[in-house]
Symmetry: C2
């Protein structure tokens, strides 16, 4: 036990559909070494893991070998913390139609160190707790604003996994119960359909198509508009673009008001590309929240942007699972 | 420690606006002795506690004195678990405009045993976990259907109190964002405004006023209709009354589908007078849930009615806090 707790590093793996990015991380969140491979070039999970371990070996050597590694954490789509598996992940050729015991496969090839998996939003929440703006907090919610809307919920200092490991899907609470937008999950009106980066672009296209209002965004092919374009236009004073972020932030604040009734968190922490819009998105969130939340919760919660460094954030989040093992 | 864990009883206090009901309860949930006093006959909290202890003394003696009592649990409105206080409770004359350290006041007069407080819905959740249908469960949600809609959320085997002790207000998530009914909390569209016993009566009055449809309920003065009357009419085959329960159950199922995205519970457990309507309310809840929930959660959650005995349920729930201390 004594020796175990002195091992100074964990491995973090940010397993995405395109790239698998590794980092060896110390307890302060410093990334000591990194490497990466392509995720999709393998038909079998065993081959993928073998390629990962081969890529890892040199960076493990640079920090002093496997004796310095306490554990490994993996942030991955469709990852189940309880079982250590990836289940039916549509974007992973070696896991799209099966259940892969990825934790076990890595552990077997890495001196049987503990290996933990969870989805990327949960990994982000652990990352904030271990290295980021949630240090010392016991009740908070991380909301990831990317292609989708994800969430990691911490209560009593523990990540909320629920009965099956799949708790914390706040991108899929229903915000519009009548005539809601179709969501990738097959239902209508989910938060994600409006407040993800793709949702923001969709709001832009809808407003451009249904109104005659002038906007810098009219100079673009509507299909090419991204949330970044909306943010840039808003930065130039474009009224319509500003309104799109107002609408998006307002709905996020509305959603957070419901989340408060659930777990009364100390803070809502926003993570991902869209947070680069800064006050443009954060101000309307906080404003709508305090306007709409139950009186008892008014003014209590903090609204924060992730404290993890952009480039390494996902690897840091993944590595944080390692410290929890 | 050894001795403490052998004390066989806890005191439970169901502190309501009208009555304060006490029970001495063993670990299997048997109520060994009970007593009660009127809650509101005291201007000062100290006097209320003195009267409680006076009423308790004889029943404590019947089970063998204070040496047999491990702890006390109190289920009360506006109770804060973290601080052991009752805060600004509008229906309690000795606590309506102040913060009363009720746990401390009882402990001082009862040989310094630990005393815990929480609201009645949280107490019900603990009661289900300790004595009821949630024994062995680590993730479940109790929803109380009474004058209001309350909830107690258990995650990882622990009650969810949140950052301030006030988590678990699921009666106040917003179900209708446009033209929602006014709720007692001052906002519009809350679950409670539709699915509490008073909400059901309100639905009945609305349907009677806005349609010409025949119903047994037309024989009553609309202002006198209660959820029990609707249930009785439905039992007699009244179509309108059936539709009211369909509507109510559907909205509860819709709400539970969102709650699943939050904590993915193993079961939803319904507690309180309205559950007496049985399948009339439970069937539409489960049906709407499985129709509307994210595919990943479909068919997983159980829908149960409280396993605690009606008359003693609230006292049992309160006593369960005692075992947690």
């Amino acid at each position: 036990m004594e020796q175990q707790s002195q091992k100074p590093y964990v491995i973090g793996l940010d397993l995405g559909g395109t790239n698998s990015v590794f980092g060896i991380v110390d307890a302060r969140g410093e990334i000591k070494a990194t490497t990466a491979i392509k995720t999709g070039s393998y038909a079998k999970a065993e081959d993928y893991v073998a390629a990962c371990v081969e890529a890892l070996q040199p960076i493990i050597d640079t920090v002093g070998g496997m004796d310095t590694i306490k554990a490994m954490g993996i942030g991955a789509p469709n990852a189940n913390y309880y079982s250590g598996t990836i289940e039916m992940a549509p974007n992973l050729p070696w896991a799209h139609d099966c259940v892969v015991p990825l934790g076990k496969l890595f552990s077997e090839r890495l001196d049987n160190i503990p290996v933990g998996l969870t989805n990327d939003a949960n990994a982000a929440a652990l990352g904030e707790m271990v290295y980021g703006v949630a240090r010392g907090m016991k009740n908070f919610i991380v909301i990831t604003l990317g292609t989708g809307v994800g969430s990691g919920i911490v209560v009593n200092g523990q990540l909320l996994y629920g009965s099956d490991g799949f708790a914390g899907e706040l991108g899929h609470v229903i915000m519009r119960r009548e005539n809601g937008r179709l969501c990738g999950c097959g239902r209508r009106g989910c938060l994600e359909a409006y407040c993800s980066a793709t949702g923001v672009a969709r709001t832009a296209r809808e407003l451009l198509a249904t109104t005659q209002r002038p906007s810098l965004l009219r100079e673009m092919n509507p299909e090419d508009i991204t949330s970044l374009d909306v943010s840039i236009a808003a930065g130039k004073g474009d009224e319509l673009a500003n309104e799109i972020y107002q609408f998006t932030g307002h709905m996020l604040g509305e959603a957070c008001a419901d989340f408060a009734a659930f777990s009364s968190p100390e803070a809502f922490i926003f993570f991902g590309g869209m947070t680069k819009a800064g006050d443009l998105i954060m101000k309307p969130i906080e404003q709508a929240y305090n306007e709409l939340v139950m009186p008892i919760f008014k003014g209590k919660a903090k609204f924060l942007v992730s404290g993890l460094d952009g480039a390494g954030a996902a690897v840091l989040g993944a590595s944080a699972i390692g410290w929890e093992m």
